[in-house]
Amino acid sequence: MAELHDDALMVKIRDLRFAHGARVIFDGVDIDIPRGKITAIMGPSGTGKTTLLKLIGGQLAPSTGSVLVEGEDIHHVSRDDLYRLRKRMSLLFQTGALFTDLTVFENVAFPLREHTHLPESMLRDLVLMKLQVVGLRGARDLMPAELSGGMARRVALARAIALDPAMIMYDEPFTGQDPITVGVIMQLIRMLNDTLGLTSIIVSHDVHELSRVSDYMYMMAAGKIVGHGTPQELGHSGSEWIRQFMGGLPDGPVPFHYPAADYAQDLLAGVSA
């Protein structure tokens, strides 16, 4: 991608390093998230996709490197500024993370009640509008436990757009959904991005869905970015990583085995012990 001017970037990540204890998750990662686009970050389970979103949201701090959100270093701003930035972004958790003690309506109303002083009638209209967008206006009185997985994600999406954010981050929005729901969610992501002028980040391992919905893709493995480009560019590239990923091959540059001692020695070790 041609070097974009900083104003055109919603998020700019430079030389990001992060470890969970001794386990290195990111080892020098650079990512640009352009405004108004859908950017996908793809990687196998356990590469740190959720961790990346939490780093962008300022819930985790990197050991070195920087994450600039709208030009501000999210890990070096005051708590008030952090909260101000967070109101501009939404993170859609993999599980939805709905409040289980509140109805669908109250879940969507939650950020509005916390951050605005709207009169009840206006609040109600706003919530119903957000629910209408995701097609669940009729489900307003249900409790989260009564929703299917796909519905829960749509409610979470309605809640995520309640404060009209500038950016939404989706954590594995397609995982574990039936094909119809996947289609619905893909359409919603595209529609919200284009009609609300949002910036979207999707992290996922569903290559085919991602290449259909995203404008630009990053591939991540073993703590590094191993490829990036538009879906077409990636589809035609010769990289082994990408072939393994696109083809769904069990072994390749992404190993099938978790790091372990030599197999024969490991088996023999039991004999001598």
Binding site: K54, G57, R86, F93, F99
Partner: protein, 260 residues
């Protein structure tokens, strides 16, 4: 032997680390309290689930304990022909000791464990993280309202326990065993001192309530966010509260009533 010392050292280090973290946590709780002043509704909602829902257990247990006290007290007193003092015995045992202590233990089992499990599960299901990402501080929105509600509830529940216990003692002593009703009440009135007994009992229940509330919300907030972690945190709440309450009870009793 060295092994044993190592283990002792390691567990005392762990204990102090935990106490330290609990202390820091408490500071953050205190710092967040002012933010609740404009939003009393958050506390009132919790008062219902923490306090009101614990009332049934407290009422029934208080009544039972009082009835047993009435029975046991009568059997002892009657040998000395002092069964008229039953009212005093029942009231003093309840107000000074059993009210605050038993109410705190029941409170830990009923409300404390529920608070820990609720907060722990909110953490495990990323509801707390989600709140943070919505620029809402879970400390202010979730932890402090529950903490305050627990602190308010405990002394009231302890008082209720004592009152029900006295009623239970009355039913058994006066109703079943034939102690004179007037003597029962007048002995109680004469021998129970407002400052010495009732205020000291109240101080105990406030201290126990504070400790029970602190342990319950801290264990929930600090829980390892997995099914197993939450289950362990819930157990810890009940066990630690019990130890803390019993230990503090001895210290407070010695300070208040003792010539130790």
């Amino acid at each position: 032997m060295i092994d044993w010392f190592q283990k002792l050292g390691r567990s005392s280090l762990a204990l102090f680390e935990r106490l330290g973290r609990g202390g820091l946590f408490l500071m953050r709780v205190f710092a967040a309290i002012p933010s609740l002043v404009p939003r009393p509704r958050l506390v009132i909602i919790q008062l219902y689930s923490v306090g009101v829902l614990s009332m049934m257990l407290i009422v029934i247990s208080g009544l039972n304990v009082g009835m047993v006290l009435g029975l046991q007290g009568y059997n002892t007193l009657v040998d000395f022909g002092a069964e008229e003092s039953l009212g005093q015995v029942v009231a003093l045992s309840l107000v000074r000791e059993l009210g605050p202590v038993v109410a705190a233990l029941l409170f830990a089992g009923r409300a404390g464990s529920a608070l820990t499990a609720e907060i722990g599960l909110m953490k495990a299901t990323e509801q707390l993280s989600g709140m943070e990402m919505m620029a809402v501080d879970p400390m202010k929105r979730v932890i402090v309202p529950r903490f305050i509600a627990a602190i308010i509830s405990m002394p009231l529940l302890a008082a209720m326990f004592s009152a029900m216990g006295i009623l239970g003692g009355y039913f058994v002593g006066v109703g079943l065993l034939g102690v004179d009703s007037g003597a029962f009440w007048s002995q109680m009135q004469g021998k129970v001192d407002f400052y010495e007994d009732i205020m000291n009992g109240l101080v105990k229940s406030v201290v126990f309530g504070f400790v029970a509330a602190w342990i319950a919300v801290f264990e929930g907030y600090d829980a390892v966010p997995t099914t197993e972690g939450v289950s362990r945190a819930t157990t810890r709440t009940v066990v630690h509260t019990a130890f803390a309450v019993l230990g503090l009870d001895f210290i407070l009793t010695a300070l208040m009533f003792g010539s130790v």
